[in-house]
């Protein structure tokens, strides 16, 4: 039984933690919150300089040639720091999608640039206030051009390229394809969106006869997307575990320094049990995420269930940790000056980032039904 990260992976985790606690404390994330800047350039540059954007990209395409397990430990630290960078969009979504499903030429064109951070990528999926499905993707692909509107697109205001989920004609899932779009090209309008978490920027992108290139043969996009989202679910789950742990520590520390009715508030069972519940959810999320990491790294047969379980446990743990951490702080936790808001905002953002819990519960139930076929 070796259900743990290796010493090398733990060392990488320590390095990333050290870098982020040094260069990306919450005061730096706050600067992004309180200004118009879309992300923190110095932190992003540091991650790029460490080679982390190329972690899971093969060496042949300019990456470090490591695996999903290395990405997982990085994700946990980015989540803990509530870092304000486009790492998840560019690495978990765009790079992984192109690595998995791009043509040889697309991989040669984009992966080295994504690895060296000279290009920032993203995934454009959502088209408004509903869960995406093969029936409601209207962004249309025809003759090398796309037309339609995506909203919200994470880092859509600053990304250089996007993997866009498009309708390429036909019925049902066969209508869906993935296409790469150079966002610097003609026919593209972007508008920054106001969101619950300004430390991660989002935009509406409108395509009008914009040049696009399909990833592989048409009609395979829905299955490809599903695989990309499963991988991202595991990686986001690690961010959520890191975030939940940080929110829990914040609440614990405050409960020890704050006195009410002559005692530390952390000595009341109402607070102790609340924090114990956060710990329980966080550990359940971590254990599920570990199995997700293992399945993702090995491309295991149980990846679909493991990814969904990672996603659901991660959503539950971080949202609960963030809101109860703020609650533990009382009135001070609701002020602009308090740092509790970073977790409150980010937890909900991540819980919706690649589809809500309701959506993933349905996916998981469907996958379990298939697995437990009568």
């Amino acid at each position: 039984m070796n259900f743990d990260f290796s010493d090398d992976q733990k060392m990488l985790k320590d390095q990333v933690r050290k870098f982020l606690s040094d260069k990306s404390p919450l005061s730096v994330t706050r600067k992004v919150l309180e200004s118009d800047q879309p992300y923190e350039k110095a932190v992003w540059k540091g991650l790029v300089d460490m080679g982390l954007t190329g972690t899971a990209i093969p060496e042949a395409y300019g990456g470090l040639g490591l695996g999903a397990l290395e990405l997982c430990v990085i994700a946990e630290e980015l989540g803990r720091a509530v870092a304000a960078t486009p790492f998840s969009s560019s690495v978990y979504l765009a790079s992984e999608a192109i690595k998995l499903f791009g043509t040889e030429k697309q991989k040669e064109t984009w992966l080295p640039k994504l690895a060296e951070g000279s290009v920032i990528g993203t995934l454009a999926l959502s088209e408004g206030l509903h869960a995406a499905s093969p029936r409601n993707i209207t962004t249309a692909f025809a003759n090398g051009k796309i037309n339609g509107t995506k909203m919200p697109v994470p880092d859509g205001d600053i990304a250089d390229i996007a993997v866009v989920v498009v309708n390429s004609g036909g019925a049902g899932e066969q209508a869906i394809s993935l296409a790469i779009v150079d966002l610097k090209g003609a026919g593209i309008t972007r508008e920054v969106l106001r969101t619950i978490d300004p430390t991660r920027s989002q935009a509406t992108i409108t395509f009008k006869d914009a040049t696009a290139e399909l990833m592989g043969p048409a009609g395979q996009g829905w299955g490809q997307l599903s695989r990309v989202l499963d991988g991202a679910a595991v990686l986001f789950a690690f961010e959520q575990v890191g975030g939940a742990e940080a929110a829990l520590e914040m609440a614990r520390d405050y409960s020890l320094e704050r006195y009410a009715f002559g005692r530390q508030i952390g000595s009341y069972q109402a607070i102790k049990h609340k924090l114990a519940d956060i710990y329980v959810k966080k550990e359940l999320a971590k254990s599920n995420a570990y199995f997700g990491a293992m399945m993702l790294n090995d491309e295991g047969a149980e990846l679909p269930e493991a990814a969904a379980a990672s996603r659901l446990a991660g959503n539950d743990a971080y949202v609960f940790a963030a809101q109860e951490s703020l609650q533990t702080h009382g009135g001070i936790g609701y002020t602009w000056e308090a740092d509790t808001q970073f977790h409150y905002r980010r937890a909900k953002l991540l819980a919706l980032a690649i589809g809500s819990s309701a959506q993933w519960k349905e996916k998981l139930a469907t996958r379990l039904e298939a697995k437990n076929a009568a």
Binding site: N2, F3, R252, K272, S287, A358, L368
Partner: protein, 409 residues
């Protein structure tokens, strides 16, 4: 990451499997008729199996060989347990004695005690029970009232113990009593071992809410024990008890009931809501997803613990979450399985109800499982205090002499 054994572990597992194949019947091949029908039969078989294990070094695997153990590692013990669970054998009557009582005797007993008791217990010749809980001392065990008074070189015990598993068939027990009511409660306790056949010991089964009787009340009326039956110093009973309780989490086990997510999916296919298969109902699908996530989380938390053991490290605190989740899940899943049967969910008949009545049984049983070996509330205190480093509760009786501390009826 992988779930594979190390070469040494694989070798040990193969040895264990070969030995079990030679000496026991696989569950899959065991016939219903072979199940023990009476307590006497169960005890006879358990003892015979335990003796066989002891001879082969598979009883108390982690204990030194000179005490009758196997001289093995914790991971050896885990591997043996995993393999043995596939065979139609049982050692449950020894779990408390070997998991909690004998370790206490080994730590606190005299050389004479150890020489007299350890080997017979390992071989299964003698069975032990633990007599701590009382009607007035459950979560707050140190509030117990059973008293022992010195009379020459003997002590005279009077009082009542409760929730004592196996007292009706045990040979010996360890009993925690109050020897000094004039000092604060934790300071006036002392531990003894006691012969359960002593005059004045009366065992009565407790009928549980479920109708079963797995536990007992034990009444002590002028029970005389020698001073040399004492474990530890007079007044050190609490310290001694902590040695025992440290092992409780391991001894209480991880039963989660017989119905889990796979069974629930099957049931949801067979039942209907509003004339449609229940499995197509969103509320049902949500519950299936939620419990799957919990079940997987528990399983992989256990794997994290096993990994630490496999590497020879001390497992992290994550194992403390298991019973908090498992007991509540067992209760809720049982309850929801009953809901799926709609009005028929009230039926408690293994010939009618799905999974031979597993849903109703675990719904009834979980009410006790949430309390046994640390209530949900006490376990949350433990996580908060020992894992998160939060302050312990204010105890208003901490410094008061026991006989002046506030008490209920």
């Amino acid at each position: 990451m992988d779930f594979n054994d190390t070469p040494e572990e694989a070798k040990y597992r193969a040895e264990v499997r070969a030995w079990l194949d030679k000496n026991a019947v696989r569950k899959a091949d065991a016939k219903d008729a072979e199940q023990a029908k009476t307590l006497e039969e169960l005890l006879k078989r358990s003892k015979a199996w335990q003796a066989k294990k002891a001879e082969a070094g598979y009883a108390c695997i982690t204990w030194p060989k000179e005490w009758g153990g196997g001289g093995g590692t914790t991971i050896n013990n885990v591997i043996y347990g995993q393999e043995e669970s596939n065979y139609a054998v049982t050692g449950s009557v020894f779990a408390i004695g070997l998991g909690m009582c004998i370790p206490t005797v080994m730590y606190w007993g005299t050389d004479e005690h150890k020489a007299r008791f350890v080997k017979p217990a390992v071989r299964g010749d003698e069975i032990w029970c633990q007599l701590f809980s009382e009607p007035a001392g459950g979560s707050d065990v140190a509030g117990l009232r059973t008293r022992a008074e010195k009379d020459g070189d003997e002590w005279v015990i009077n009082g009542q113990k409760v929730w004592t598993s196996g007292a009706h068939y045990c040979d010996y027990g360890i009993v925690l009593v109050r020897t000094d009511p004039n000092v604060p409660k934790h300071k006036g306790l002392t531990m003894f071992w006691v012969d359960m056949k002593s005059p004045g010991v009366e065992v009565r089964p407790i009928k549980q809410m479920s109708g079963d009787a797995n536990f007992n009340e034990v009444f002590f009326t002028n029970v005389r024990v020698k001073d040399n039956q004492r474990l530890g110093q007079v007044g050190d009973g609490w310290k001694v008890a902590l040695t025992t309780l440290m092992n409780e989490r391991l001894a209480v086990g991880g039963s989660q009931g017989n119905a889990d997510v796979a069974e629930l999916i099957k049931l949801a296919r067979e039942t209907e809501i509003d004339g449609k298969p229940a499995i197509s109902n969103g509320a049902v699908r949500e519950r299936i997803a939620d419990w799957y996530v919990q079940a997987q989380g528990l399983k992989f938390t256990r794997f994290r613990t096993l990994t630490a053991l496999s590497k020879g490290e001390t497992p992290g605190p994550e194992s403390s979450i298991s019973k908090i989740i498992a007991a509540k899940k067992m209760q809720d899943l049982g309850s929801f399985g009953m809901d799926l049967q709609d009005m028929g969910g009230i039926i408690r008949d293994r010939n009618i109800s799905p999974e031979e009545g597993a849903y109703t049984e675990q719904w009834l049983g979980a009410a006790g499982y949430r309390i046994a070996g640390g209530t949900d509330e006490i376990l949350r205190n433990i996580v908060a205090e020992r894992v998160l480093g939060m302050p312990s509760d204010i105890r208003v009786d901490k410094d008061l002499p026991f006989n002046q501390a506030p008490k209920g009826k």
